[in-house]
Symmetry: C2
Subunit: 361 residues, 2 copies
Amino acid sequence: MSTNLKQLAKLLGLSTTTVSRALAGYPDVSEVTRRRVRAEAKAHGYQPNPVARRLQKGRTEAIGIILPPGQNYFSDTFFTELLGGISETMAIKEHDLVLTVASDMENESQAMRRMVEGKRVDGVILVQSRLDDPRIRYLQEQQFPFVVYGRTESETPYAFIDVNGTRAFREATDFLIELGHRRIALINGPSVFYFPKCCAAGYRQALQAAQIEWDDSLVCSTQGTSPDNGGYLHTLELMRLPDPPTGLLCFTEAAPGVFRALSQLNLQAGQDVSVIGYDDLELARYSAPPLTTLRPPVREIGRRLIEILISLIGGGLPENFQEIREAHLTFRQSTGVGPRQRSFNLPASPSSSKPDSTMSP
Amino acid sequence: MSTNLKQLAKLLGLSTTTVSRALAGYPDVSEVTRRRVRAEAKAHGYQPNPVARRLQKGRTEAIGIILPPGQNYFSDTFFTELLGGISETMAIKEHDLVLTVASDMENESQAMRRMVEGKRVDGVILVQSRLDDPRIRYLQEQQFPFVVYGRTESETPYAFIDVNGTRAFREATDFLIELGHRRIALINGPSVFYFPKCCAAGYRQALQAAQIEWDDSLVCSTQGTSPDNGGYLHTLELMRLPDPPTGLLCFTEAAPGVFRALSQLNLQAGQDVSVIGYDDLELARYSAPPLTTLRPPVREIGRRLIEILISLIGGGLPENFQEIREAHLTFRQSTGVGPRQRSFNLPASPSSSKPDSTMSP
DNA sequence: CTTGGACCCCAAAACGTTTTGGACACCCGC
DNA sequence: GCGGGTGTCCAAAACGTTTTGGGGTCCAAG
């Protein structure tokens, strides 16, 4: 159907070599023929056949991503934001994203081998890194380019981007403390992941700095159930403690369950209890009350993942691509003054004029 | 690195032709050499280079999917379920899924052209069909194989799978009527899509059959806001009517907002109001109370989409692949007897022994 | 002894690019 | 007039498969 390089060359009375090099912008073709070739190519809507170029170049110009089982850790918009950033950059770099959703772990490693050993992609993106991650070991053995969203425990260096969870949760905890809260609970994510460890560390740092003593009964994890349900159950439990928390830090996706539990207990978020969530982009804005939340720059991380991966494919060294990004605290109405300062009648948030205000931690 | 067809042939003392045909299972290679070839291939972990085979076969062995802007209509699990079914089948068929997330409509058609005219895939899957869909017109003009999840208004036939929304919402409405409800509201989806029309039709049919007269004030749409927020706002509105509904049918993703509104009004779902949702797979199970919901066979639809598309690529005619699937009503605790029959003390659901019971509409 | 048909195998072409390794013409300086 | 550089162009090889179109060999039937 559509034009060939050979056809185009014949039409122009040139060799395929010259046409190819003209389009690629090599300097060994004269300005005038280059223009002539470009014009003709555009007129016929010529695009080089990607499959042929891939064969010749020895690169698939594609990168793979496998969405792991246990998908409910992804909030809808987080997921689309990340993939949005990824595919945006892939289009610019003229690459394709090939995606698989794994139904279980068996399936996941199978899909990985298919991509890697089947030579279907030049590199892969890993998400949801586990503390001890067999995928990373596998890819390192295979010497296959990969980049991870998140950190893990590995002796040999590898490329990653991660959010500074320690700092984020430290800032969030600090913020609650400034508002006058002393009893602050943490509903954390499952401990098979690295990120919750950071969150806990940040939380601990803030408490120490404020000389608030650690209370085991205020820290829990959504492990074993869905984040939503975990948030629900743990909130009920926490609020029935003899000395219940007045501040609540929630991991990804837990906030809706927390809100449900609070309203069931006839408690008002932002009034009786201050709640800070993580990452529930769309949800957070429309919840009642709108959720104060930590927002990682997901879309930008998606973009950067591709840039890094393409550098690695080009021969870059993993140790040069280990990056940390900051999450930003977005103030909304689910946080308010704590019991100690309530009598002083402080404003609920640093800048209460705008409905959404952001602070860089 | 890994073995070649040529290398393998040399190792075996055979021609590449014979090795290739032996592996492909052609009958013109003897049983004994076929076995010998297969054994050697397995020993060396040989896999034919997909790029080379694609070039030769003239097929990319890949199919494309573009996730449209306005992604919040996808609930998390719906999305992963569909892609799960898709990628499962793609693995079997030895094809690759190349995916793009479009940020806006401009971007969407651009991504489409890239895939189609750039010859990066053999066919595409369309989701979220609009009533008047430019993507479908484009693909028909280009004579490019495609299959749609959902219907649209088009003169020329095309391949699709859709859920029988009419029947589903008719059954759901019938169920509420049987429980004794007469005032039943419908919080429908945006009217730019085809599916909400079906839902409304089914709802109307059930009312007519029960001789309940149509009330405009009981029907609304989440158009213009998020489904969640739409559900929230409309429920508040509906419940403040002089004669408020006792039954509530919700479109995709609206149920959480509905629950929020109800709890704010101190109304109990399943007690004061009966709520039936559509499609909130994971959410529905863990909501309080668990949501009675219509569930389309999403995963199976994903599988079937690929089968259809591959048939089309092989030369099948679109008019032979127009399929309708039924959604199933799953009974949970958000539905109960209506005001008319409450005095008779009926059971809340047909079979109340099991927590989840399913009925085929 | 020849013909015809199984049966098994292979060399060469093809898919559509990019890259390699010149070839040719022209001009400049010596 | 000759060596060397520069500016344009191209034929052929290469990427790794699959397909095409036979080419042998062997055996049975004529």
